[in-house]
């Protein structure tokens, strides 16, 4: 089928079925059954086996209609991971419910002792009959309290080098061994949780990939997560949503505070607006390169530049509002915003890989500078020095 007729077909189907008032579950079921949820996947896996261009056309029609549910073969982190590494049994049990949004998920990756060095994780999973016994602590988990399952990485073999002793599981969250505690951020918000795993259990059948292959599974999952992040490209917080795509209007802010005539403030504002524009254009270029199939080095820069932009924005907001930056709360929205911006910028410069780790990645993967020598590459995890 050529693209144009595919396009008309999808358009017609949407015209026949899509209704803003439709029940979401029913609608998603219809999309999944029709194959539009994952058009690139094979027909055995709820897809249509379409090539990229055709699949893009299907997604475009859904976007045009404002209908959700398509393109999950790009954006559904959970389903993609199951498809890539799940056994036939796991695919059977999880794929369709994940596409329908019936199973809620969370990520059990980071640990208090394993942040930048994620592979240094210390949560253990020890075989015990048909299941594994899991002990350890995870952190920075969103939606932990609501999730049915967590994508868990845990150490199954401490006697091999750290990357090789990790396995990847779908851990049931609703069990006595799992305790969730909200984690309050320095901004006062609580978007994340700590998850304590004490004699928690996960069936051996819920392992994705082979034992010790978990790091590779994780890389796939992380790649899909980056796609999701790029799609949404939004901060963690909705508390301080701004007009104009979430960006504070510094000119208006300066005008309101009588600072728009201050030459120093004007230089500051111009710098921030320039960084914003550069970041936007860099992202456009990255998008264009990705669409042409050129691997884009620009995509990796975005997070670093965004971090700089957010910190700089917080600084300039503070400079503009002056004394009001000592205040917070709804009575002082501009001061509150300035403080939130300045503090929440660390969400980006630390979360999802610190700026420092990001510079390593850019230096090594894009600029091809050599890695630092790693003395522990071939050392069993058990023997690697750890925090006291």
């Amino acid at each position: 089928m050529n693209i144009d007729s595919l396009r008309s077909e999808v358009r017609q189907w949407l015209a026949d079925h899509w209704d803003l008032a439709a029940d979401r579950a029913e609608w998603l079921a219809a999309v999944v059954d029709r194959g539009y949820a994952v058009p690139r996947w094979s027909r055995e896996d709820f897809g249509l086996g379409l090539d990229e261009e055709s699949a893009e056309a299907v997604e475009a029609e859904f976007r045009r209609a404002g209908a959700p549910g398509s393109g999950q073969d790009r954006t559904n982190l959970w389903a993609n991971t199951v498809l890539a590494y799940g056994s036939a049994d796991l695919r059977q049990r999880f794929l369709r419910p994940l596409l329908l949004g019936e199973i809620r998920m969370c990520l059990l990756y980071s640990e208090p002792g394993a942040g930048s060095d994620l592979a240094g994780l210390r949560t253990t999973a020890v075989p015990d009959g048909d299941s594994y016994r899991v002990d350890g602590q995870k952190v920075w988990t969103s939606n932990a309290a609501e999730a049915d399952y967590g994508m868990l990485i845990a150490r199954t073999d401490p006697e091999v080098p750290k990357h090789r002793g990790i396995s990847f599981f779908f851990l049931p969250m609703d069990q006595p061994g799992v305790t969730v505690r909200p984690l309050r951020q320095m901004t006062g918000e609580a978007h994340f949780n700590e998850v304590f795993l004490t004699d928690a259990r996960v069936p051996a059948a819920n392992m994705l990939g082979e034992p010790g292959q978990g790091w590779r599974v994780l890389q796939t999952a992380l790649a899909y997560e980056r796609v999701v992040l790029a799609e949404s490209n939004r901060g963690a917080s909705t508390r301080h949503a701004k007009k104009d795509g979430g960006e504070v209007d510094l000119i208006e802010l300066a005008r309101r505070h009588g600072r728009l005539d201050d030459p120093v403030v004007r230089q500051d504002i111009a710098r921030v607006l320039t960084l914003r524009a550069a970041n936007r254009w860099n992202n456009q270029r990255a998008q264009a390169e990705l669409e042409q199939g050129t691997s884009s080095s620009l995509a990796s820069l975005g997070k670093l530049l965004m971090s700089r932009l957010l910190h700089e924005t917080g600084r300039v907001q503070t400079a503009i509002v002056g004394a009001e930056a000592m205040l917070e709360g709804a009575d002082h929205p501009d001061g509150d915003d300035a403080n939130f911006a300045a503090m929440n910028a660390y969400f980006t410069s630390i979360g999802g890989g610190t700026d420092q780790i990001q510079r390593n990645i850019i230096g090594e993967r894009i600029l091809r500078l050599p890695k630092e020598p790693d003395r522990f590459r071939d050392v069993p995890f058990r023997e690697i020095p750890k925090s006291g």
Partner: protein, 352 residues
Amino acid sequence: MTFDFTDEQRALRQAVRELLDDHSAEPAVRAAAASATGVDQDLWKLLAEQLGLAGLVVPEGCGGAGAGPVELAIVLEEMGKKLFCGPYLSSSVLAATLLTELSCAEFLPDLASGQRTATVVFAQQSIAAGEGLSGEQRFVLDGATADLLLVVAGGPRVFAVDPAAGGVSIQPMSTVDGTRRLAAITLDDVPARPVGDPGSTAAAVDWTLRTGEVALAAEQAGGARAALDMAVAYARARFQFGRAIGSFQAIKHLCADLLVEVESAYSTAYAAAWALAERSPEATALAAMAQAFCSDAFVRVAADNIQIHGGIGFTWEHPAHLYLRRARSSAQLLGDAATHRERYLSAIVDQG
């Protein structure tokens, strides 16, 4: 300027440090910050009664220690390190200095003993001097807890106002730094008693502000030092990739740059304190310079401390953000760094 302390000054620092180590540890600071008033009353008592710090700069004749700006800087630096919570800057620095400069003996003994506290309401722009005072002033330091308001009205003239008097309305402001409290004060035809000689008021107010700038700079220098110490300790103890993170240049070099900030902040603060102590003609310029530099330095070190800590530094439970909040609030308290830099430059350009 030799940056050399006397034995008495060293002993003073040691005494303050010991008291605060015992009584201004993180739980005490968090408790004060979360309290209604932001004041740790027990600590205030100890400080006043045990060390006599409330009257540090009050003349001996009024029950104080008659000490000067260098001693003040020592105390404030130590307080800054521990995020001390209490009306020291408002009452023992600003109010005590103003009353002393105005040669007003009436309130000083009570301030010196710490039994009462006062704050200065810098309201030259917003409140006119007259029989009854009227007007509004926001961002009054410790305005909601002070027992006495010293209102600097246009002129300038200073008036003693009883916060409980009719026509006085005091509204606490919600501060981002719970350890530093501000209030909005509204006066509606409040009867007020003039304080001090009109002829010396302008100079007294000016000197009070310079003293406040230097005291705050020292406090900021102390806060910056503590934040760096915290960062360095973490960089030594935290292992990733089998190594202390402080062995990575990304962290090590950042800490080295921060040390330059911290030591330079200390230098500017104490240079200004000595200039003030000597009533040097440079004092005004150096106070502005110190206030600008220490504001930036503390904000930078407190902020980078969070980055060095990574995820844990982004949590409410970790004390790193307490220092950032204090740093951000201090950087605005007496005017922002750019304003002080401009004042500094104006001063030296005028001096030729």
